[in-house]
């Protein structure tokens, strides 16, 4: 088939109308690029058909272009919205900075608070320390006193004088250890009840014939002395000892109604 026959066959008209199979159309498209005569013929057929279409159109739809472009724009707008979002990430350094500031402030505040509470605690501990030191000192003193007493009890030849409870306090028992060399008397008054306010125990040395009481001292600060062992001077040749409850400051002679304990010194062998 030469070019002219090809053009005259009517295939090109069907090609432009779209009435051929895809394979036939591809073949003609190839020929069209190879032969300018075929291309020119196709363009003229196309032009005639376009003219015919235009003639049938009720009017020129040129105003519809704006509406179409608007629709295309609306479709396109859905894309940049997604792209725009990542801009938010640019402020990361600022956020980190602020976060660091806040954390630092919280940390400083916590440290300050901690420091304050530690100081308070330290003060409390210091006070307690002083108290404990005082207590240790007291215990040490008490322990020393006890050692001293023990030493005395061991070292000396003491006369033991048991004093028995009298009418007013039958169950009470007081021991007096009398160091005749040093003229001291140790009164172990553990059994005596605490004296009522304004009253004090007074210790008497007695000679029996005739019965003469001599005051050897008061059991001062009775309630404060834990050991309840009192040391009093006794230079008398005592034959007996007694303890009475007297008004504060003591009396010159014993109040016999308030005689708590009484005991005689056993004759030396």
């Amino acid at each position: 088939m030469n070019l002219n026959e090809y053009i005259e066959s009517g295939l090109l008209e069907l090609y432009v109308c779209g009435a051929l199979s895809p394979e036939e159309s591809i073949e003609i498209s190839k020929k069209l690029h190879e032969h300018p005569e075929i291309k020119s013929e196709v363009e003229q057929i196309e032009s005639a058909l376009q003219y015919l279409g235009t003639a049938v159109a009720p009017y020129n739809p040129e105003e519809l272009l704006d509406s179409i472009k608007q629709k295309l724009k609306n479709m396109d707008h859905s894309i940049p919205v997604i792209v725009a979002k990542p801009k938010r990430t640019t402020n990361w350094t600022a956020y980190i900075g602020w976060a660091a500031c806040i954390i630092l402030a919280i940390g400083l505040l916590a440290l300050f608070q901690k420091n304050h509470s530690l100081r308070t605690e330290l003060r409390a501990v210091a006070i307690k320390n002083v108290q404990i030191e005082q207590e240790i000192e007291n215990v040490r003193k008490s322990s020393e006193k006890t050692k001293q007493l023990l030493g005395i009890l061991r070292d000396y030849d003491l006369t033991r004088v048991p004093l028995k409870g009298q009418k007013i306090a039958p169950d009470v028992f007081v021991n007096i250890l009398w160091d005749q060399k040093e003229n001291r008397a140790f009164i172990d008054a553990k059994d005596l009840p605490e004296p009522p306010p304004g009253k004090v125990y007074q210790v008497w040395s007695l000679t029996l014939d005739p019965l003469t009481p001599t005051s050897i001292g008061l059991l001062d600060q009775f309630e404060e002395d834990e050991n309840k062992i009192f040391v009093l001077n006794n230079p008398n040749n005592s034959e007996a000892f007694g303890i009475t409850l007297e008004p504060a400051g003591g009396s010159t002679s014993p109040t016999m109604e308030q005689l708590y304990v009484l005991g005689a010194v056993e004759a030396k062998s």
């Binding site: 295939l11 009435a19 003229q44 196309e46 049938v56 159109a57």
Partner: protein
């Protein structure tokens, strides 16, 4: 607004413009629209014969052209033929749709020639009175074969069955009829 010249419309396919369209150039799209919208509108109207519906279809067709432009390849056929297929398919889908059948119960497919007869207002770009006069000089057979192959999108085989003529005759008769049309246009 870009106004195409008759020479361009008559003798060439705007290949450069099509490439620009395929790379999503909106200006190229506008020029393509100006080149093809009126004749494609004519084809759509010849099928649905309803102005508002034709407008809707035309918009859909050109949105499709924008979205699917890269699917067109000159190795497969003419750009105009590609456009023609999209438009005819969209228009035929519409007249087959339930909503169209409901609202256009008295729809009766007619020739483009009848449409030309009924036209009262004419396109600015062509002398419709002139073309109508000359089209009327076409043989009735020519009017019919052009209607089927061009406006209704029949294949060669479908047209031969519809017109009850051999396949080869469809080809040659269509050629003869279109030649008569081209003569009319050259005269003008």
């Amino acid at each position: 607004m870009y106004i195409f010249n008759q020479r361009e419309l008559n003798y060439m396919q705007p290949d450069a413009l099509i490439l620009e369209l395929q790379s999503k150039n909106l200006k190229a799209f506008e020029q393509i629209y100006n080149l093809y919208s009126e004749n494609i509108f004519g084809v759509i109207f010849a099928i649905v014969q309803h102005e508002k519906i034709s407008e809707e279809i035309l918009q859909d067709v050109f949105i499709k052209v924008w979205n699917n432009a890269e699917k067109y390849s000159p190795t497969k056929g003419r750009f105009f033929t590609w456009l023609l297929n999209i438009a005819r398919n969209a228009a035929i889908d519409e007249i087959r749709s339930k909503s169209f059948k409901k609202s256009n119960q008295n729809y009766n497919a007619s020739f483009y020639v009848d449409i030309l007869e009924e036209k009262s207002s004419f396109s600015s770009k062509i002398d419709a009175i002139g073309i109508k006069k000359y089209i009327n000089t076409l043989k009735p057979f020519c009017k019919k074969i052009i209607d089927l192959l061009y406006f209704k999108g029949f294949t060669q085989k479908e047209a031969s069955e519809k017109l009850e003529i051999p396949l080869g005759t469809v080809k040659t008769q269509n050629r003869n009829c279109l030649n008569s049309l081209r003569e009319i246009l050259i005269e003008k």
